[in-house]
Each structure stands twice: as structure tokens, then as C-alpha cells.
């Protein structure tokens, strides 16, 4: 093959090629091309983002594992710990929505149980294009079926999520999945650090096929006309097989039969083997010809690059192999030894007795390229002259148009297809603004996703702040303390200065907020090149936060509960955005935000304490589309209305406000509590009747429910 063809096929540029020659002191040969192609791809090496990720705030006294491993781990106390991570599967989902989304869920689950944690919750963050965009209904249908099809079958409840729409996703949908796993008292944490000369390298799980060969490097490229021709065999997920893998892997770890374990994700066996050896400062031999194959005609290169699903690589002491295999056979799976751990720090890849290559994992992994992609200093667009005074909200029919829009209507069609309760631990499901799981200790764990793309589009820095502050405040409003964060940074082409500038600004905003709220980022994933024919997605750094509450009982609801309850508006910060409505109606978009993040965090903590002091019947952050829409949403569940008198904006979005309701008897006490904590709080009305009254104008709860719940079906009749 011509050198130029080679470089194109393996997606290695001239400079990287030169570096490889330098490192090897010779030309790369045979499978070495595949190894470098995989491990130096954007997807595996984070070459465009590493320099910035290093700056992330990632520690707190609760953090047990942060980056480096398959997922981050936080300590909840009382012997309970959780591992969690979020990952994207954008490109595969655009090509084959069902399998793309399904294998995304499977992959993130493996990152969790490889560490020894039992998966207890899933959440998903989706971005679609305009409803009328080409293929869009089909893509939505496939993605939702895929996520449900995998998660429901493997038996992990999906308890939260977000579904966004914008034209910038027309050619690049985003499919991000988050998984959370629990370690109870005596569950060991297993790492991927290979060690122990003479220990065995054991291959477990599904046979290897041609699935996704060259997939990792493909996920590191923009789509263009000939993406068709580049298509690798579609990866097929088997949730049934994954369930068996979960049970068997957790069993061998509990029985202390494994020294180290790692799932085979992007770039399959290549990245697992090199990374395990690299972390342990040891070497490995791998007899590729002993890897179980689905297709006997596969070449060593195919095997190295295969991304077949539901496979694990583990290290096991020779005398424990029998016991290990017994467990896997019990679950109907195979476990075969394909190599050994050696002292010499090289990965020796063998094929039918001959050595194909022998490379130092340090050399390959630690020398992966790192780029300081050019970007511009960020100019915040905060406009102090914008004080969010009246947004001249005319009448409640405007509210109806918001409730009827695909961006504002119910997403029940989506989450109804997810099993939200398997495991019998779900205390709040997708219909609530936060997902909650009951822990064995009787405490409650919350999961909330962040990142509001319309705020990102106003200002990447502010959007970054919001992607942490918003979910943290949603948790506080329900009495939860946000503990840590995972993220999934979805951006366009990092070789473009504007894209890189937004990336850096968003990350800086997130990072400052994480420091202020003490929600370290302990795991995550970067997805660049979300771009088709030169059009990229608007910046979308989705986040997933987990939080803790001392008890699973008496968590405030999200809707008006009882006639006569007082409605209190709590203000935590000084800032406004013209918001989603302005963007939708392409009015000029402005915002300002002038609260110190440390102050915002302090008030958020105060809010949490007040909420947990009791008596709050319902709570909700003032979110997309502003206060009027938020209140309308609060009438849905129980069809209880409210009489509201409020002179401030109806549709502008505050940074930040929270609505609380409490009984008349308790409101004096609650207001005093709030004010003692120096939180701005005013009674804006009371729960009453069968309609939402806004300064005299009214809309019946029946109409609100009808338009909110039936609009999706009208927008997507084919679904």
C-alpha cells in the first residue's frame, strides 16, 4: 500500500507518522499500524483535549477514584460507594440508531461493573434536530427503542434524562448515556492495573467479530459524503449476554479470583491490553490466534481493532483459573487464557507461534500526541444593562404555545419506553425533575443531568457554569447535596478556532462552578468532530451529577399537592436570560449574571438545609421558559391550580430561582428560615382551584394537561 493511503486508512497524520518512526527507530510494520491508529486516535488518546482536562477540579474528601480508571468513585459513607460515568455514542447512533444507542448503554454499563460495582441506575441525554429534518422521526424512534431495549433487558432502571432539539443537531444527533453503580460494604473495588509475573491474561465473553473495525478512529472524524464507504460492520449489542457478564464478573470479583480487569471498549483488545500493562508497569504476551472468533477468516489486525461488544480482559492467578472458569461456565460464558503477564515491559503480540510485534506500552500510550489546538480568549457576553425587567408577557395563550412546542411538551413518550423501576429501588422516576434511588442504608441517591444547550448558545462560559449550577440547585430544592460530576463534552471540529474557543470557555465555566459547589469532575468523555459537511453541533457539554440525602422518605414532590398551600419564590442569584422562548421566536437574546459562584453555592447549601428542616410539600427550580411555564408544569400531576401575583418576568429565565410550596401554617416558619439564611423569599400566591391564575389572567389545569400531554403525538404522528 502507498504510504499516503496507509496514513489515510489508519488516520495518522504526517507529524504523527514521523513521531512513530522516531519512537520505533524504524518504519512501523504490520499490526503496529493498527496499534498506533487505535491508541493515538482522538477517541482513545484525547489528544486535542488532554491539556485542558488536566486543569479540571477533580478531588474532594469523598473522591476515591478520579479519571485514570474506567469510572470515578465517590464515598457515601456507611460503607456505601458509587461509581459513575457518562459516555457518548453519537456517530454510531446516527448511522444505525437502534444498535448505536443500545451499544452505548452496554458500553457505559461495562465501565461501571468492571470496577466491581453493581449497576443501579441509568440516565440519558439526547439531542435531536428539528422534527421535520431528514430521518429525524426514524432516528428518535431508533435511539429510544435502543436505549430501552438494552437497559430494560439488562435490568438497570433508567431514572432520568433530557431531550433537546435544535437545528444544529439535524446532521449530528447526540446520544449520551450515564450509568451509576453501587458498592455495598464488602464489595471490592477492582482496578485495571495488570500485575504479577506469570499471571494469566484471560479473555471473557462474546466471540470477536469484525464489528466496528476502525470504529475508534472513525468516531474521531467528521462525516462526509464517503462515510458510507467507511462504514465498519455495525456493532450489535446483546443485553442478555451483558446481564450474564455482569453477574459472572461481579461473582469472580467478590470471590477474589481476579487481579485486574478491564472491559474491551473503543479499539477493543488493543487499548485494554496496552492500558492494563501500562498502568501496571508490566508486560503482557497475547496469543491472538487463541482469541475466540466469530469469523475464522479474521486477520490479526481485524482482531486488534474489533469492537465486538460484551467482552472483558482480565488478569488471573494460574491456580485460580479453574475456579474462575467454573463461575463463567455456570453463567454459560467462556473464559480462555490467551497470554501471560511478563516482567519485561512490552506487549508481545503473537500469532501461531510467531511474534508480530513487541512494543513498550509506555512508549505507545504515554507518547500519544497532545495538541494545544489554537483558541481565542473568551469574551463573556454578560450584559449588565439587561436587568430582566418585564418581558411584556401578554396572555396565557403564549404559555400554551410553549407547552405545545416540541421543546416544551411532555417527553413521556420517551421515558415510558424505559423500565424506570426494575431493581425495586426507584423513589423518583423520569417524570420527576430529579431521579432518586433508595440506598440499602435507607438514604437516598439522586441523579440529575445538566447542560441547557440554549444557554450554551448564548455564552459558552455561562452555559458551562449552568451545566453544574442548575442540576446542583435542582438537587438542593429536594434536599440533596450534590457530591460529584461526570461529563460528556460534545463539540464540533477542534481544529476550528471557534469550536476550540467555546470548548475552553465551557470547560472553564464548568470547572469554576465545580470548585464553588465542591462537585469534582471524576469521570467523563470527550466527543469531538460532531460535524457533518462542515456544520457542527452547538456546544453541548452534558453533565451528570449524583447527590445524597439522609433519608428516602418525605422528599418534596414536583407538583402542587394541597389546596391552600402557599407558593414561595426563592431567589438565589442575580441574573436573567431572555431564555429558550426568545431563541425559539428568534427575538434578540440577552443575559446577565453577576453573582459570585461561591456565594451562589453557599445559598444553594442554605436552601438545602431549609428544605430538609421540613414542611416543604413541593419544590421546583425555575427552568426553561421561565416562571409561568414552571408553575404550569406544577399543576399537571394532581390537576391543582394556583393563584399567582408576580410583577417580575413570566418567561425570562432566572439564574436562579426556586419555587417552594408549604402549608399555610408552616409558611411563616419557612419564610423566617429562608430569610435567616439570607435568601430572598416572597410569597407569590397559593395553591387553589382548577386553573393557573397569573395576575388575574387564567388557564385551566385541564387545558394545560391536554396541550402538554397530547402535543408530542401531533408533532410526531408517525411515532
Amino acid at each position: 500500500m502507498e504510504l499516503q493511503e496507509k496514513l489515510k486508512l489508519y488516520r495518522i497524520n504526517e507529524a504523527e507518522y514521523g513521531r512513530i518512526q522516531e519512537l520505533l527507530g524504524r518504519e512501523p510494520q504490520g499490526v503496529e499500524w493498527a496499534v498506533f491508529s487505535a491508541l493515538w486516535s482522538e477517541h482513545c488518546s484525547y489528544k486535542s483535549s488532554k491539556v485542558h482536562l488536566k486543569k479540571l477540579f477533580n478531588q474532594s474528601d469523598r473522591v476515591l477514584e478520579s479519571f485514570g480508571e474506567n469510572a470515578g468513585i465517590v464515598d457515601l459513607g456507611e460503607g456505601e460507594r458509587v461509581a459513575f460515568k457518562m459516555e457518548s455514542h453519537n456517530h454510531p447512533s446516527f448511522i444505525e440508531p437502534y444498535q448505536g444507542a443500545a451499544t452505548g448503554v452496554g458500553g457505559i454499563l461495562r465501565d461501571i461493573f468492571t470496577m466491581g460495582a453493581r449497576p443501579i441506575a441509568l440516565a440519558n441525554y439526547l439531542c435531536f434536530g428539528e422534527p421535520e429534518a431528514e430521518r429525524m422521526p426514524e432516528l428518535i424512534d431508533g435511539v429510544v427503542r435502543g436505549i430501552g431495549g438494552y437497559g430494560n433487558c439488562v435490568g438497570v432502571p433508567n431514572i432520568s434524562g433530557q431531550t433537546n432539539f435544535h437545528k444544529s443537531y439535524n446532521g449530528n444527533i447526540l446520544v449520551n448515556a450515564m450509568a451509576v453503580g453501587l458498592f455495598t460494604k464488602d464489595d471490592p473495588i477492582c482496578l485495571s492495573k495488570a500485575k504479577g509475573k506469570g499471571n494469566l491474561v484471560v479473555y471473557v465473553g462474546a466471540k470477536t467479530g469484525r464489528d466496528g473495525v476502525h470504529g475508534a478512529s472513525m468516531a474521531s472524524e467528521s462525516f462526509d459524503e464517503d462515510s458510507e464507504s467507511k462504514r465498519p460492520t455495525v456493532q450489535i449489542g446483546d443485553p442478555f449476554f451483558e446481564k450474564l457478564l455482569i453477574e459472572s464478573c461481579l461473582e469472580v470479583m467478590k470471590k477474589d479470583l481476579v487481579v485486574a480487569i478491564q472491559d474491551m471498549g473503543a479499539a477493543g483488545i488493543t487499548s485494554s491490553s496496552f492500558e492494563m500493562a501500562d498502568k501496571g508497569n508490566v508486560g503482557l504476551t497475547m496469543r491472538l490466534d487463541e482469541v475466540p472468533l466469530r469469523d475464522e477468516t479474521m486477520t490479526p489486525e481485524d482482531i486488534l481493532l474489533s469492537e465486538s461488544q460484551e467482552r472483558m480482559l482480565l488478569i488471573c492467578e494460574p491456580e485460580k483459573l479453574d475456579a474462575l472458569q467454573k463461575v463463567f461456565h455456570h453463567w454459560g460464558l467462556d473464559a480462555v487464557s490467551i497470554g501471560e503477564v511478563i516482567d519485561e515491559p512490552v506487549v508481545r503480540i503473537q500469532w501461531k507461534g510467531e511474534t508480530l510485534t513487541e512494543m513498550s506500552p509506555k512508549m505507545v500510550v504515554d507518547n500519544a500526541p497532545e495538541y494545544e489546538r489554537p483558541y481565542k480568549e473568551w469574551q463573556k457576553k454578560s450584559d449588565e444593562s439587561f436587568v430582566g425587567a418585564s418581558d411584556n408577557f401578554e396572555n396565557l395563550d403564549e404559555l400554551k404555545t410553549l407547552l405545545a412546542d416540541h421543546r416544551g411538551c411532555s417527553k413521556e413518550w420517551v421515558y415510558k419506553q424505559y423500565d424506570q423501576r426494575v431493581g425495586a429501588s426507584t423513589a423518583r422516576d423520569c417524570s420527576s425533575d430529579i431521579g432518586v434511588i433508595a440506598l440499602p442504608s435507607g438514604r437516598a441517591l439522586s441523579v440529575v443531568l445538566g447542560c441547557r444547550p440554549h444557554i450554551m448558545r448564548q455564552d459558552a462560559w455561562m452555559g458551562g457554569v449552568d451545566s453544574i449550577a442548575y442540576p446542583a440547585i435542582e438537587m438542593a430544592a429536594k434536599g440533596f447535596e450534590a457530591l460529584a460530576t461526570t461529563d460528556c463534552l460534545n463539540f464540533g471540529n477542534p481544529e476550528k478556532t471557534e469550536v476550540m474557543s467555546e470548548f475552553v470557555a465551557a470547560l472553564d465555566g464548568m470547572n469554576k462552578a465545580c470548585e464553588a459547589f465542591v462537585t469534582p469532575i471524576i469521570s467523563g468523555n470527550v466527543s469531538f468532530y460532531n460535524e457533518t459537511l462542515d456544520k457542527g453541533v452547538s456546544p453541548t457539554p452534558s453533565t451528570g451529577l449524583v447527590g445524597l440525602r439522609p433519608s428516602v422518605n418525605n422528599i418534596p414532590h414536583s407538583s402542587f399537592m394541597s389546596e391552600g398551600d402557599e407558593v414561595i419564590l426563592v431567589t438565589l442569584g442575580d441574573g436573567w436570560s431572555t431564555g429558550y422562548k426568545a431563541e425559539m421566536q428568534s427575538q434578540n437574546s440577552r443575559y446577565h449574571f453577576s453573582t459570585e459562584l461561591s456565594e451562589l453555592a453557599k445559598r444553594t447549601q442554605s436552601l438545602r438545609e431549609v428544605v430538609n428542616s421540613g414542611g416543604v410539600s413541593a419544590s421546583r427550580i425555575v427552568g426553561n421558559f421561565g416562571l409561568a411555564y414552571t408553575l404550569a408544569r406544577m399543576t399537571l400531576a394532581n390537576q391543582k391550580g394556583a393563584d399567582i401575583r408576580y410583577e417580575g418576568p413570566a418567561t425570562y429565565e432566572a439564574f436562579y430561582q426556586v419555587v417552594l410550596t408549604t402549608s399555610k401554617d408552616n409558611s411563616e416558619y419557612l419564610l423566617k428560615q429562608l430569610r435567616d439564611h439570607e435568601l430572598g423569599a416572597e410569597v407569590i400566591g397559593s395553591v387553589t382551584g382548577e386553573s393557573l391564575k397569573w395576575n388575574g389572567k387564567q388557564l385551566s389545569t385541564k387545558d394545560i394537561k391536554e396541550v402538554y400531554e397530547t402535543s408530542w403525538g401531533k408533532i410526531f404522528p408517525q411515532l
Binding site: R210, T233, V234, I236, D238
Partner: protein, 78 residues
């Protein structure tokens, strides 16, 4: 005119159902191999000209009855 459409996973694509069905039947003492599970679709086309009808049936298969990324099909006249 009536047609039957046999749809099977492409050989290079993992057939999750076939794998499960085969291993289960084997565990229950059946000697089989190379088991694959797909879909069978029958439908009637309003056109008496065999050539035309066949053309329409093929168009339907191509348009939406099978997924070319992961499946292959065979059309039979009934």
C-alpha cells in the same frame, strides 16, 4: 399477488437470537448448528402483472421492510 419475504441477519453481523436459541436447544439435547433467527413477512400486492407485482414487492422490501446495514433478504412468490 402474494409474496413472502425471508429476512436474516447478515452473516458477518452478530445474530444474538440465533446464538441464544441454538445454545438453549443444544443444552436440551438437540443436535443443531448454524442457527439463525430472522423475520418472515407475507403481504399481498394489488397488481396482477407478475413482473410489475414483483417489482413493487421488491421496492417495499428495499424501502422499509429490512435494514440493509444488518440484514439480507430473499423474496419469494407465494
Amino acid at each position: 399477488m402474494k409474496f413472502g419475504l425471508k429476512i436474516l441477519p447478515k452473516p458477518e453481523v452478530l445474530d444474538t437470537q440465533g446464538r441464544a436459541v441454538q445454545s438453549t436447544l443444544e443444552r436440551h439435547g438437540f443436535a443443531l448448528s448454524d442457527c439463525h433467527v430472522g423475520r418472515y413477512i407475507v403481504f399481498e400486492v394489488q397488481n396482477d402483472d407478475p413482473a410489475k407485482a414483483k417489482e413493487m414487492a421488491t421496492a417495499m422490501a428495499e424501502k422499509g421492510l429490512y435494514n440493509p446495514l444488518i440484514e439480507s433478504y430473499e423474496l419469494e412468490k407465494l
